[in-house]
Symmetry: C2
Subunit: 310 residues, 2 copies
Amino acid sequence: MADFRPAIGDEAQFLEDLFEHGLLLRTGTPGVYGRGSLFEDVRERFDALVTRAAASDESESLRFPPLLARHHLEATGYVGYFPHLAGTIFAFDGSEGDAVEQAERAARHDDWSEYQSMTDLVLVPAACYPVYQAIAARGPLPAGGTTIDAGGAYVFRREPAGDPARLQMFHQREMVRIGKPDAVAAWRDTWRDRAIEVLRRVGLDADVDVASDPFFGRPGRMLAANQRAQELKFEVTIPIASPVPTAVASFNYHQEHFVQSFGIELADGGVAHTACLGFGLERITLGLLRKHGLDPQQWPTAVRDELWAL
Amino acid sequence: MADFRPAIGDEAQFLEDLFEHGLLLRTGTPGVYGRGSLFEDVRERFDALVTRAAASDESESLRFPPLLARHHLEATGYVGYFPHLAGTIFAFDGSEGDAVEQAERAARHDDWSEYQSMTDLVLVPAACYPVYQAIAARGPLPAGGTTIDAGGAYVFRREPAGDPARLQMFHQREMVRIGKPDAVAAWRDTWRDRAIEVLRRVGLDADVDVASDPFFGRPGRMLAANQRAQELKFEVTIPIASPVPTAVASFNYHQEHFVQSFGIELADGGVAHTACLGFGLERITLGLLRKHGLDPQQWPTAVRDELWAL
């Protein structure tokens, strides 16, 4: 079982407050919470604000369920980079007798794992993963490449924690740029600046810094150092309830990684790169509730106007 | 591996047409598809039509991620009734050495299942399951009970198939009524009639019939017969691309099943029952595309007015 990260600082109290006000609902397991209508309204309003900020991208809108073909996850190297975060789908594949034994164990809350077999499906680990495969399947891209808006999609990270900002299942509002290296790098940098501006407009104290992914183990430390040295990842942070600010958006330049994993090509034969950005919609919602209070009716007019205008 | 159900009738051709028009996108695995913006627009518009039809319920809106505590699934008996449909979440829980071996196998697309352990999470099998647990956790209900709108939530069924109407991950628009037996049964029947009316308003040839759940194995046949005899389940069907009409909504009276599984109580000490209804939003979207054509701009004005009005 993955290690549970206990709450620190004000995290536990903030989570209790969220439960008490019906903003989040307990489900019996850490990092998987139901949501009241007020929480969802704020999340969707911020999502809509990102949509407005993205208008000039003229992106194509695609949506994907939170499952990915296991074969595609394997092709990206994710299992090596982030084995501790991945979730795989298992299912029953036995006889009627096995089903009876499995059911009896399950009813007693005993171990029934031996009756479950690995399927060809995994949980989506980042909302951009299904995009690369779908774009590759369409065939070569026009020379200008493409920009995909993957919406606010549920993604999974195996990180049970007491911090309400560290969920096992949460919405990433994700966009992906595929095209010539210069254009892709410029798009990533534009969005990094745009994101800070959007977050500050709703009263959040957003800062940006070079960052790295949580690569696994000792070899992962070298990967992370290399990622930082090349400035391939930026994160925007805001204060929530932790002792240090929490990352709420990331801006990632993958160079040729996904292009090679999935066989993405430009029609003119040029080299394609990819970049993506993701807003952590629950974290931003939590940041707004923490900063402006648990009752959005009482938020500053300027913030309400940004979110509830239109 | 679960048996793949090959397409029959016009199912395969319809799926090809949906891919060709960009309404659905291939993901490399059957029953898990990306969606173009047109498909999503129709799905969301029908969802909004249900919301309007539900206004008089004055329900409370709650939302849940597509994961459930395994303990809760076990408590409902689902593992015994539907072992063939359930999906469980496994994750890595090994050493750095295990991680290296797992990654190497995954990169070769070899079997790496031995490094995955069962977690405390499963995929949500029906959108009402998280509701019972959340309501029980709040404590006893007022005498009138409650009505919950769980929105259009992703649910999982392990049924790989060639029929585009049989998805492994799809949106159920789900509502739940908890209260005194008479009130719950009456609500279920009202919605059964209301659903037919809503579907006919958008030009679909909706019929209703007594139905049963796909209980597993030989004992399951008796459960199903009993469910039919007591008229605990109704399904509304429409023609899509299969030789026979497809179920697109179901109306289920659970009597005391979930109340006992989760310990739901009424404050006045009276007996509580539950009922739920679910619209299969992708199936209804497919039914609309099949009936009125693949270009919603060309649909009959009366249908467009119902969906795109407001």
